[in-house]
Every structure is written in structure tokens, then in C-alpha cells.
Symmetry: C2
Subunit: 110 residues, 2 copies
DNA sequence: TTTTAATGGGCCTTAAATTACTCAAATCAG
DNA sequence: CTGATTTGAGTAATTTAAGGCCCATTAAAA
């Protein structure tokens, strides 16, 4: 039950970038860490973890903070998000609902 | 210490999209939920939370799962991540290290 | 330069997420 | 269609992140 996660380099890089984007956004908006954390409803401590690119924070919290300082997710504006979502929804309905493996060996392309 | 967070619409949309991208990626790679969760070192339950766009999972875990099924963060490939990171690092050194508010009222553009 | 707000980090408590089962419903392969 | 696999869901126990406090250091403003 030990968790002791390890993260790939891509993940670490992405987290680091995300944190820096948020910090830069905060500074550009001239917000102190305390101010931003209060607006986000978290503590200064948690905000610092996020800005430092630590892996443990809740994704909802991180996205919320990002939105507060103008860091866009998926490089699209708010309106476009809904469109993307709908499109993905449709795509999912076209894909099989579950994955089944054949009895016979199938060449796994991994 | 009650948390009971609330999330903005943008955040919810982004989470929903992210979850769907991951699920679509998993299906396209023909991985079962169990298989992907094992590769990510999490339980099937946690994976479902992520695919359902719930806000509570750790961002590191979500990014890791995303990477496993080929969902790109920031729409860039792995090599470019390092470049982005370095560029941001430089940008941060140019910004003030801390934000100070003047005694006199300053017109807050918020 | 001086002042003092802002940041960084440690530590303990508490609430929430993850885990680890189990079972039912859905759905795909044969 | 049928059967076996996959997924969806609920619960309790465990692990962990967030909260909240403190103090030291840094750095922007006067």
C-alpha cells in the first residue's frame, strides 16, 4: 500500500513548466503569494508547492490557480473549451466502450 | 480545516477534457483500465476518477497517466518541454523576486 | 541604507484521497 | 446469442496532502 510514487521526466518537466507559468502569471498580475492563495481558497503553503512544480497537489486546485492568473489550459480560451469537450464526447461515443483482448496472442504494438 | 472546494467552470471544463483525452488515448492504445492503472502504479478506481474529470487526484499522477497514453501537455513534444522550461526559468529571473505593495493606494487593475 | 513586507521552510494536526477488497451491470469476442 | 471480460460502484482501512502555526531569510520600497 506504499505509494512512494515516481514520475517520468516528461511529467516532472510538465509540472515544472506549469508551476513556473503560474508563478510568472502571478508576478505579472502583481499578486503576492498570500493574495493569490486567498483568492484560490488555499494556503500560501499549497500555492508554493504548486509553483515549485511538486507533484502532490490536487489537479483541480492547480487548474483553478492557473485560471486565476491567466494560464490557459490546452492553449484555448474559455469558449473554445466547451467545443473541445463536446467534440471529445462525440469521439468517445464512437470508440468501443471497453477494451477486450483476444484469446490468441495479438501483436502488442507497445 | 474543511476543504469542500468549489471550482470555476473553466476548471471543470478543463478537467473534463483532460479526463476524456486520457480515456480516448487509453482506448486507442487498446489498454484496459486495469492495465493502464497498473502501468501508472495506481488503482483502477483512481484511474476512473481521473478519466471522469474529478478534481481531487494528484496532478503528478494525472500527468503521468496522460503521458502513458500519449496525451501531450502544452501541445508540445518531449524535447520541446525542456526548452520551454529553460525559457521560463530565464523569464522568472527577469521578473521581480517578490511583489510589494506600495503604502499609497495604487490603482489595482483588477 | 534601512525598513518591513514577502517569501521559504519546518512541524504537527486533521480531513480527504488512495487503496483494497467485493459484487453487479455492461459489453465485446466467439 | 452466450459467456467471459471489462467496467461501474460502494465500503472500510490506510496513507497523504492541506491547513495552520511559527521563525529565518530575502528583497522591494522609501
Amino acid at each position: 500500500m506504499k505509494r512512494a510514487r515516481s514520475y517520468s521526466r516528461v511529467t516532472k518537466q510538465a509540472l515544472s513548466i506549469f508551476g513556473k507559468l503560474i508563478k510568472a502569471g502571478r508576478l505579472e498580475h502583481k499578486l503576492t503569494a498570500t493574495e493569490l492563495s486567498e483568492r484560490a481558497g488555499i494556503t500560501r503553503r499549497t500555492l508554493r508547492n504548486i509553483e515549485n512544480g511538486e507533484a502532490g497537489s490536487e489537479i483541480g486546485t492547480v487548474f483553478e490557480v492557473a485560471a486565476l492568473v491567466g494560464v490557459r489550459l490546452f492553449d484555448v480560451d474559455e469558449r473554445t473549451l466547451a467545443t473541445h469537450n463536446a467534440h471529445l464526447e462525440e469521439k468517445l461515443t464512437l470508440l468501443p466502450k471497453s477494451v477486450r483482448h483476444r484469446k490468441q496472442e495479438v501483436d502488442d504494438d507497445f
